[in-house]
Amino acid sequence: MTTTTVTPSVSREFLLEVQQQSQQNILRCYQCGKCSAGCPLAYAMDLSPRRVMRAVQLGLADYVLGCTSIWICVSCETCSVRCPREIDIARVMESLRMISIDKGFSPAEKEVETFHRVFLDVIEKRGRAFETELVASYSMGGLGTLKTSIANISLLPGMISKGKMALAPPNASGVDEVKKIFAKVREIEQRKTSGGSE
């Protein structure tokens, strides 16, 4: 264990960033733990959702941005709908993921982050999720670990034989519009970051 030094300047800055991004008042959290009690995945996290909230309250950015919890969270919203302080905890988790990407943190759950990236790549390219390509490029592109790749590939024959894998890619006429949306979102985000330095 280590001793954490808590100073006003450090704790304020990160807390405000998370509050701004998530539109939630994290200081309302009184650490009752109902989020963690109901979270189906808390057992697999290194910090329970309650501890994530606590770390944000104290402004411990490195501590919380490097944790596995924010990537294991699947946004099932159980915590958010039951929170007695009406904090949308799932939204806070989402914000922490985005901040962690922005700040260039290496995701503690690399696979999860990779999956989301590949998924969005497929959508940008095809307009719709093409599961066959998704499984293939996620598993065989060397992005996942060997173990998960083998596990995923081992499902393929079954899926194909059950007709659960389409062999031809989807044909969405809206794909051009989707490409534009991706481009525009990137442009707006670019504008935001460069706008800040102006």
């Binding site: 009184y30 650490q31 009752c32 733990g33 109902k34 989020c35 963690s36 009690a37 109901g38 979270c39 808390a42 057992y43 910090l47 329970s48 309650r50 501890r51 159980t78 039951r82 929170c83 007695p84 302080r85 009406e86």
Partner: protein, 663 residues
């Protein structure tokens, strides 16, 4: 021409150190109608007051201005001083030279002095328009109404009655006793709730000064402090309570079975019933909603054929059953009212994640009290509702309907931490094999011997406290799986339990806001009544003569409720110790010659102090009841014809102050 005397106080150096008093005095001498000016080191001191008195007499002054500290500080003192000189005490005006001048303008003595001169000028201008005001005397009806017969109301009624005054105690239920009568033991002493409460209930029944009206509620109020006229709606009991002996034969004969309110549905009662064996009054009532006879009457009206039942009437040895009895309105006069309407517990069906009441073995803490009570549905044996077995693992869940914005209950219910400790101890006393777990957020054990008691639950009785709010209960065969987090450990935990007790919070009884509206007293967003001042006037309301006691104001435990009942009683007896009441003369007046009778004033009046009055020529005009008026002046600013005015703050007085600034 008035003869105004101006007295200027140095207040040591508090005023004199900043404001140049001699210059103010010089300026004052030149002000219109001022005939005498004097300064003093401390005007409020004994010799200072004497000087004012002498100056008034010696110089035949008829108006007084004192330049000193805030009127909120010494206005009463100076009024007495002025009165002692034979002048009407309301012919006084204070210029606030300290809080509003010297203390806030210490950085600029020159400006402070010229401001002080203007403040005195304003006071002089205003006082020259003052009139003598005379408080009114109204007689006091020395009878008290206590609404609610829980322990707070019982205490208030007994204390008032013991002081020699008549009391009417009105209770909505068929019996007095309130929540306390449902409890088994009390914390932190573990004495038996019934054993300490029932003697008090009997005292109420037997007290010559107390009249008890059950199945009743207040429906209308008129009048004001000392002279309330109140309508009490008494619902028909369909049993003549003067004849009923409480023998209970009817209850054994009645064919109907419906869940008992007193036992929170854990036992059935008959349609004609006495809520519990120690009920006061020990008289039967008929629940017309479930009674066979009344269902027959209703069905007949709808043209349906249902067999009639009048078995209770036929079998009652005292022949006390009166199906034809009607509701009645009892109108009585009272001098004071104590509101002690108490609380109910939060309905946990709002928590879907805890099963919304779907799981029979998830019970409320009050249901557990009934299970533990020797006179309860299981005669004090703790059996789970589903299969009547002895639960060995019991999980308590705190803050159900407390500290939860999600459920609209942001406040702490205060008593739950302690009653959970009590109940877990009692479970162990009942059955040494029971292991209790308590999920808590904070242990709030502030009170005499409270923390020691909660500690004892842990170190002597082995109750395990887990810090965390649970998120879900799932029925798994005969077990209930409780999902929580031990937040001290930082891990999710689950406990397979035989029974789960939800520590449901405190909320105001049904009908509290409706009663508050009838009585015209305020209530908060949670429907608790609001005190006149949360610290210094905890049992008063903003309406004179209406007092509060017990949990109607907010969550509190038994000793606090009893103390508040006594405190309210003291306020009532203090009021009754006088034969008449003096009313503040700074009230509204209506110039009835100019009044057009639009009654916009009556509409805005927060105290219902303005009523229409029909003049002899048939004209309707507004009329102020000076005993009800609190002098806010809302009517004055509302009046379109300019006929309303507020004594002490008349339009002329306020304008004189404004005008003096440019004269």
């Amino acid at each position: 021409m008035a003869r105004i005397g101006v007295f200027l106080c140095y207040c040591g150096t508090n005023i004199g150190g900043v404001v140049n008093i001699p210059r103010v005095a010089e300026a004052a001498k030149a002000m219109p109608e001022v005939v005498f000016v004097q300064d003093n080191k401390y005007t409020c001191s004994e010799p200072g007051q004497l000087e004012i008195r002498n100056a008034i007499v010696d110089n035949s002054l008829d108006r007084v201005v004192i330049g000193c500290c805030s009127p909120r500080m010494h206005e009463k003192t100076y009024r007495k001083a002025v009165e002692s000189a034979g002048l009407n005490p309301y012919l006084l005006e204070i210029a606030n030279l300290r809080e509003h001048c010297s203390w806030v303008h210490g950085d600029d003595k020159e400006r402070a002095t010229s401001k002080a001169i203007e403040l005195v000028k304003m006071a002089v201008a205003k006082v020259s328009r003052h009139e003598s005001l005379f408080p009114k005397e109204v007689p006091v009806t020395k009878r008290a109404l206590v609404i609610g017969g829980g322990v707070a109301g019982i205490q208030a009624a007994l204390d008032i009655a013991n002081s020699g005054y008549e009391v009417v105690l009105v209770e909505k239920q068929p019996t007095i006793g309130g929540r306390m009568s449902q409890l088994d033991k009390t914390f932190p002493t573990l004495d038996c709730s019934a054993c300490i409460l029932t003697p008090k209930m009997v005292d109420v029944a037997q007290h010559p000064n107390i009249r008890l009206i059950t199945c009743a509620q207040v429906s209308k109020i008129k009048g004001f402090v000392g002279n309330f006229e109140i309508d009490i709606l008494r619902r028909a009991k369909k049993v003549d309570e003067t004849i009923c002996t409480g023998c209970g034969v009817c209850m054994t004969k009645c064919l109907v079975r419906t869940p008992s309110e007193f036992d929170l549905g854990m036992r059935d009662r008959s349609a004609i019933y006495i809520p519990f064996p120690q009920a006061i009054p020990l008289k039967a009532v008929i629940d017309t909603e479930h009674c066979g006879h009344f269902q027959y009457l209703k069905a007949r009206q709808e043209g349906k054929d249902v067999p009639d039942c009048n078995i209770c009437q036929q079998t009652c040895p005292a022949e006390a059953v009166r199906y034809e009895e009607e509701d009645e309105i009892i109108t009585e006069r009272f001098g004071a009212i104590v509101v002690a309407t108490g609380f109910k517990t939060f309905d946990h069906s709002a928590y879907g994640e805890f099963g919304s009441g779907r799981y029979p073995d998830v019970i409320s803490s009050l249901q557990l009290e009934r299970l533990m009570s020797a006179s309860g549905p299981t005669s004090g044996e703790i059996l789970r509702p589903s299969d009547k077995t002895h639960p060995k693992t019991v999980v308590f869940v705190s803050c159900v309907g407390s500290r939860d914005d999600n459920k609209g209950r942001s406040y702490c219910s205060k008593i739950c931490c302690m009653y959970m400790a009590k109940q877990s101890i009692m479970l162990k006393e009942h059955d040494p094999d029971v292991q209790s777990y308590i999920f808590y957020i904070d242990i709030r054990a502030g009170g005499k011997d409270f923390d020691e008691f909660a500690q004892r639950a842990q170190d002597e009785y082995g109750v395990l406290y887990l810090r965390g709010r649970i998120s879900k209960i799932v029925q798994d065969g005969k077990k209930l799986i409780v999902y929580g987090e031990d937040s001290l450990l930082g891990h999710p935990v689950q406990i397979p339990a035989d029974m789960v007790v939800l520590a449901t919070g405190v909320e105001p009884n049904d009908g509290a806001p409706e009663l508050a509206q009838i009585l015209n007293v305020s209530y908060d967003t949670h429907n608790f009544f609001v005190e006149a001042h949360p610290k210094l006037r905890p049992v008063e309301t903003q309406t004179d003569g209406i007092f509060l006691a017990g949990c109607a104001v907010g969550p509190r435990d038994i000793p606090e409720s009893v103390a508040h009942g006594s405190a309210a009683a003291v306020k009532v007896t203090a009021l009754f110790s006088r034969d008449t009441l003096t009313t503040d003369p700074m009230v509204s007046t209506i110039d009835q010659m100019r009044c057009v009778g639009c009654l916009a004033c009556a509409e805005v009046c927060p105290f219902n102090a303005i009523e229409p009055q029909v003049l002899r020529d048939g004209r309707v005009v507004a009329s102020v009841n000076e005993s009800l008026c609190k002098g806010c002046g809302l009517c004055v600013a509302t009046c379109r014809s300019g006929c309303a005015n507020l004594k002490g703050f008349t339009l002329q007085q306020l304008l004189a102050e404004v005008n003096s600034l440019w004269r």
